[in-house]
């Protein structure tokens, strides 16, 4: 299960990358709202990915 969570975290990072890439494309297409939406989605993906694996105080 732990290995599955590792891959979910990696999938979230990849999803964040896709969201960022589409967000930059949306900026060029004059879709500012869509760009902001995709950038927020990307940031949440990365936050979820790192929180999933990052040890916190008291974990040891």
């Amino acid at each position: 299960m732990a290995r599955a969570l590792d891959f979910i975290a990696f999938a979230l990072v990849a999803g964040g990358g896709v969201a960022f890439a589409r967000g930059v494309q949306a900026l060029g297409d004059r879709k500012d709202l869509v760009a902001v939406y995709l950038l927020v989605v990307g940031v949440l993906c990365l936050k979820a990915a790192t929180d999933l694996l990052r040890p916190k105080a008291g974990d040891a």
Binding site: A2, R3, L44, T50, P55, A60
Partner: protein, 237 residues
């Protein structure tokens, strides 16, 4: 005995010199050159002089007051360098600066950062070694998991994708913003990918997977709401 002490002093002297020289080079290439040309303001020259004095003070204080030497060599030196640049005014325009000298000076500042990031050379100097940089002690190195290395290798092209796509943004007024956003996104991706790659394959040090999954419940819930909302918006428009 005297020879050993002399040898140790000589090595310490060389270590301190090697710590100061890159900063001095960066200062000469990027601060002194524009500041001491005709037309530069007196205040920028004073700032440049204070930057040099800070660097000299860091060398003098390195043996007796390592923390104060660090404050002088890193914080005060860079602060006064920035002050000198800020007070240069129109002389800081790109057409007034030598690009090659600036690039070489940037290398000097890079080496300056690396030199000050290195641990003290004197193994007996426990005061300098003991938590010289405030904060939590740094984690020791360990061998990364094989899948972690693969993940990191895959994340790098993913991080470069928005940076490459930003070059396709031709809309006036948005192209510079697109580059800035893309670089920020790339840095976020590299940072997150690096963290995921380093932590992958080390589940034994963590609590049960349920606790790890529960930790991100709110973030995943917000993500799910956003994605479902986006899909609904796409379907209804």
């Amino acid at each position: 005995m005297a020879d050993a002490i002399g040898e140790q002093r000589r090595r310490l002297f060389q270590a301190e010199i090697s710590r100061v020289v890159p900063g001095l080079y960066g200062w000469l290439a990027t601060v002194a050159t524009p500041v001491f040309q005709r037309g530069a303001s007196t205040s920028s020259r004073v700032m440049a002089g204070l930057a040099l004095a800070s660097l000299a003070a860091s060398y003098v204080l390195a043996g007796s007051r390592p923390r104060l030497a660090r404050v002088c060599g890193v914080h005060a030196f860079l602060l006064f360098c920035f002050g000198a640049w800020a007070l240069l005014g129109p002389l800081l325009r790109s057409d007034q600066l030598d690009a090659v000298r600036g690039a070489l000076g940037a290398v000097g500042f890079l080496l300056h950062a690396l030199a000050w990031g290195a641990p003290p050379k004197d193994p007996d100097d426990t005061d300098a070694l003991d938590n010289l940089v405030p904060g939590l002690p740094l984690q020791p190195r360990n061998k990364p998991d094989r899948w972690g290395a693969v993940m990191l290798a895959l994340v790098i092209p993913v991080a470069l994708t928005p940076v490459a796509l930003a070059f396709a943004v031709e809309r006036p007024g948005a192209s510079l913003l697109a580059h800035a956003v893309a670089i920020g996104c790339g840095l976020l991706l590299v940072g997150a990918g690096n963290e995921v790659a380093l932590q992958a394959g080390k589940p034994r040090r963590f609590p049960a997977w349920r606790a790890r999954a529960g930790r991100v419940l709110w973030t995943l819930a917000a993500l799910a709401v956003l994605v479902v909302g986006g899909l609904l918006w796409l379907a209804l428009r």
